[in-house]
Symmetry: C2
Subunit: 227 residues, 2 copies
DNA sequence: CGTTGACGAGAGCACCGCTCTCGTTGCGAA
DNA sequence: TTCGCAACGAGAGCGGTGCTCTCGTCAACG
């Protein structure tokens, strides 16, 4: 809780800055986002912004973590824990795609070309993992409910899938081996690739009814996951 | 053939400009590529560059088509038409990944966030399609050699997969229906998603041995394609 | 041989990220 | 309550960017 007046007005102004920056990001994209324009929108000197964010990249990092959190929340909201696993998977996929289409520039900031010098890892990781956590929960619940066939038993290999990631992807269960976990990572990469292809215009001449294509494709991935 | 001296020196200088720009792109990425820096490297005034490229975006568009061509050539070189279909698919995947790792900034320019205002479609399309053509040839050859099971016969739907794309993806054959074609587009999107995740650092904490992970994942995609 | 158009160089405009200085003012210690 | 300090906002300024305009030069073509 902000005790002093200064702390409270600082928190409010920080929030206003990020809000204005997010608005500009939605309009002109990350490449066009300008600190000076944000300052103009707020009626303050551009130099004053540096009291709140030490650099443009730090502002972008903040927008990135916020974006990951918003996308993660959308995925979590779309997941109904009592629905059949396949429906849960499809619902999460559709939620990710919907969020991406509603916030294309934010999605591009999250999953497109990294703009700062390949940086800003640590603080963004927990937020970035939220969608993966949802997918892992779907997979783990499916395994524990007996909806998944027993795995062939590919040897556990932390070099292939790290321990943290294996824990996120349902933990230990007879239906989950490293082959299943690789397929889960592949499915998540494929969802990302499909959404990005659509958003970045990579399949404009190939697919007209993108809604149907997306559902069919995500159904194929559900088959891949044995859901 | 350039008849006059002026035409020849113009062609040479244009090539020098794109070469210098590609060098800068490889070093600092698309966002950091500066017309003035290119001009400095060539020892000419920045305004003179505009005699050859009307804007920075046009220079980038040229680099984009060149990049698509280079990636397409790498994929074509890696494809041995007499090898088994599954080996051909894996070889093309490995070639795409190798090219991307060798030219990360160029790959990001091709498949990352679109930098100009979502533009430059027409002239880039033929070059961008080359990798897809290779994949389509592998699929079509597999079908015609009898290596593919007969398809379930999903109704042909140009809204789902356009006629041009269906023609590229092996044309008409009993083993090829729209379900197979959607899986082919999905596999290509997944290859792209997997490579991008690796390059953009999205699976740093999850996968240590990326070489093995990639091979296992592409093998799963080969299964998806029934190769 | 003369005209014209392509060309390179330079100055300049508006914008950018970022730094520094300089009054002002809230806040905690004395 | 008063005093000193640190946080703050505003402004000027630096070096960089993409891009435009002007001007002198020279090759190419009628």
């Amino acid at each position: 809780m902000p005790s002093t007046v200064r702390e409270r007005v600082r928190a409010e102004l920080t929030a206003e800055i990020t809000a204005a920056a997010r608005r500009q990001l939605a309009e002109v994209g990350a490449a066009g986002l300008s600190l000076r324009a944000v300052a103009r929108e707020l009626g303050m000197a551009s130099s004053a912004l540096y009291r709140y964010f030490p650099s443009r990249d730090d502002l972008l990092t903040r927008l990135i973590t916020d974006g990951y959190d918003a996308l993660g929340a959308a995925a979590e909201d779309a997941d109904d824990p009592v629905a059949p696993p396949r429906e849960r998977w499809l619902a999460v996929c559709r939620a990710v795609r919907s969020w991406a289409r509603a916030h294309p520039h934010e999605y591009a900031l999250l999953y497109g070309t990294p703009v700062p010098g390949y940086a800003a890892p640590r603080e963004t990781v927990p937020s970035a993992a939220r969608v993966g956590v949802v997918l892992g929960r779907v997979l783990g619940d499916a395994a524990r409910s007996g909806a998944l066939p027993d795995a062939a038993g590919r040897a556990r290999d932390p070099e292939l899938v790290s321990d943290e990631t294996a824990a996120i992807l349902g933990g230990a269960h007879p239906a989950l081996d490293d082959a299943v976990r690789v397929r889960a990572l592949l499915a998540w990469s494929s969802l990302y690739g499909t959404v990005s292809f659509e958003l970045f215009g990579q399949l404009v001449g190939s697919v007209a009814d993108v809604d149907r294509y997306f559902d069919v494709a995500m159904g194929e991935l559900a088959d891949l996951l044995r859901l």
